[in-house]
């Protein structure tokens, strides 16, 4: 199992490199999962390449999610999980974004299914997607302040914190 997936890592990384030498910033393997870090400027083109190339055929964008490594920089990592239904392979494309400028190209033109996935990330992490047709909050109310899944957003929230007295007062670790 691990052997085949590391072969897969090589195939994907090789093909992406032959397409554009700058497209692969980093390749890693953990527990049989392949992660390819792609530079921000090349994300949309690399995703379209993964979808269309006959040797890759990653036709299903199964998931997209964000990870906040606050206080480290670059703090945001976007993870796109792609599945190739004909080849029965999975890969993870990753893009790292700094907290000062959390903007990335939208993948809605590549997969229409990226629409709500990106809206969810926008809603909960405050990352903006350029070229998204309908970038609105999706789970939270429109007038919500802040982006709750960021690590510096307290679990209890900012508002309506019940007064539990000294006994249950939490330390302010994020």
């Amino acid at each position: 199992m691990t052997e085949t997936s590391s072969q897969n890592a090589n195939v994907v990384a090789e093909l992406l490199r032959s397409w554009n030498p700058k497209a692969v910033a980093e390749v890693s393997e953990f527990r049989g999962e392949t992660t390819i870090v792609v530079p921000r400027e090349l994300l949309r083109a690399a995703a379209a390449y993964c979808r269309q190339h006959a040797g890759l055929q990653y036709n299903l964008l199964t998931d997209a999610t964000c990870l906040d490594r606050y206080p480290h920089e670059p703090r945001f990592e976007l993870n796109y999980h792609l599945v190739s239904i004909p080849r029965r392979e999975k890969v993870r494309l990753k893009v790292k974004l700094s907290g000062n400028d959390p903007v990335v190209d939208s993948l809605v033109v590549v997969w229409p299914g990226a629409n709500w996935l990106e809206r969810e990330i926008f809603d909960l992490f405050g990352i903006r997607f350029l070229g998204h047709p309908d970038l609105r909050r999706i789970l939270l109310p429109d007038d919500w302040e802040g982006h709750p899944l960021r690590r510096d957003y307290p679990v209890e929230g900012y508002r309506d914190v019940p007064n539990t007295g000294e006994l249950f007062r939490k330390s302010s670790t994020p």
Binding site: R31, T62, D63, P112, G113, L117, L139, P141, V155
Partner: protein, 398 residues
């Protein structure tokens, strides 16, 4: 000619607010429908009414504490949610689960799949006007919930699947209970089919309604029965087997019509396949054997050991106060839930609490294609289409 004019004339359309309290939205889904007469011109789903921040809460809990939260996402598939979460944690830890526990897990999630499809079939039929099917479906679902209660003490929020195995040994008398169910169920599935499959009203309400092509379904990231009804045999149990599914003999039903009727036929066929899997798992589960992996410091020790061995007591104390710390890394696991591909992404930074837990919920992603299914159709078909993609709002909003 006149129809073209009314479709484009802005003054001729009206906006209708459907939900969030509408009974056929199966929860709190709100859809804004722009209507031209009875035809839907545009549909905009509005969600978030049941958002409970489960992913954020998981970040504030130890790995084992978060299991009870996963039960409450997709409340028709709590065991499947437990399973995907535990598989992801086990992948992070590199932990192998004993075979006996894997077979028990398979049997339980397949029972859960049948019970979820029964709720779907009953509520879908009641939406389309067939009242009695609902009563029959809930009668059989009750039998499955009784089995869950036997195993875990709970009917719905079982938290039965734990990291490294399952919570408890199968109880005394479980074989008779499962056997009774296996004997009864095939004829009951026939009964539902005799009520619906060739029923003229049922066919009229579902055939040719809610079509989506296979290309569109994949592009919109749809999975599960909706994708298989479009002719794509994509099922995680076959494509990326987990929990020893590769040892089981079963088929993936597919159809090509990709309408509400095809999805109904797929789910009925899946119930029969699940019965096949349960029967095989029933034979594979031995009477004796471990139900949890041996991993001191991660899996709580047995009660007897805890009372006699100092080391076991220390581990027990540490696991339930501090928790355990997987190596830094990320894991993404997908399983086949009754609704489609259910995924769990966990990132660890080496501390006892996860850095990030994310659930790829099939209801949320399948719901995205709803406007594609209903635009251009009649308003009465909206209800059939919402029912047919089988959403659970607890999972949509998480």
């Amino acid at each position: 000619m006149t129809t073209v004019e009314t479709a484009t004339g802005a003054a001729k359309t009206m906006v209708l607010n459907m939900g969030p309290q509408h009974p056929s939205t199966h929860g709190v889904l709100r859809i804004l429908l722009e209507l031209d007469g009875e035809t839907v011109v545009k549909a905009v789903p509005d969600l978030g009414y049941l958002h409970t921040g489960i992913e954020k809460s998981c970040e504030d809990k130890t790995y084992s504490q978060a299991i009870t939260l996963t039960d409450r996402m997709d409340y028709l598939n709590p065991l499947g949610n437990n399973l995907v979460y535990c598989l992801a944690v086990e992948k992070l830890l590199g932990l192998a689960v004993p075979k006996r526990a894997q077979y028990i897990r398979v049997m339980m999630v397949e029972l859960q799949r049948i019970s979820s499809h029964l709720v779907w079939l009953g509520t879908h039929a009641i939406d389309l006007g067939a009242m009695s099917v609902f009563l029959y479906c809930f009668r059989e679902r009750e039998e499955i919930l009784k089995i869950f209660e036997m195993f875990s003490g709970q009917r719905m929020m079982t938290s039965y699947i734990r990291i490294g195995g399952v919570a408890l040994d199968p109880p005394a008398g479980w074989r008779q209970a499962v056997e009774r169910f296996l004997k009864m169920m095939p004829s009951r599935v026939d009964e539902y089919e005799s009520l619906l499959t060739e029923n003229r009203i049922w066919m009229g309400r579902t055939k040719g309604v809610g079509y989506i092509s296979a290309e569109d379904a994949i592009a919109y990231s749809m999975t599960g029965p909706t994708l298989r009804a479009a002719g794509v045999a994509y099922d995680n149990r076959k494509v990326f087997p987990y929990s020893s599914y590769e040892e089981f003999d079963f088929d993936i039903p597919t159809r090509t019509d990709s309408d509400c009727f095809a999805r109904y036929m797929i789910r009925v066929a899946e119930m029969r396949e699940s019965l096949k899997i349960i029967r095989q798992a029933f034979g594979k589960i031995t009477n004796e054997g471990p139900i949890k992996a041996e991993a001191p410091g991660i899996i709580p020790p047995q009660r007897e050991k805890m009372k006699t061995e100092m080391e076991a007591l220390i581990y027990h104390f540490k696991i339930f106060t501090e928790g355990f710390s997987p190596a830094p890394g990320e894991a993404f696991v997908t399983v086949e839930s009754p609704r489609g591909e259910l995924g769990c992404f966990i990132a660890s930074d080496g501390s006892p609490k996860p850095l990030r837990v994310h659930f790829r919920s099939p209801s949320y992603i399948n719901l995205q294609a709803l406007p594609k299914l209903i635009e251009g159709q009649l308003i009465a078909d909206v209800i059939a289409c919402i029912g047919t993609i089988d959403i659970v709002l607890g999972e949509v909003d998480r």
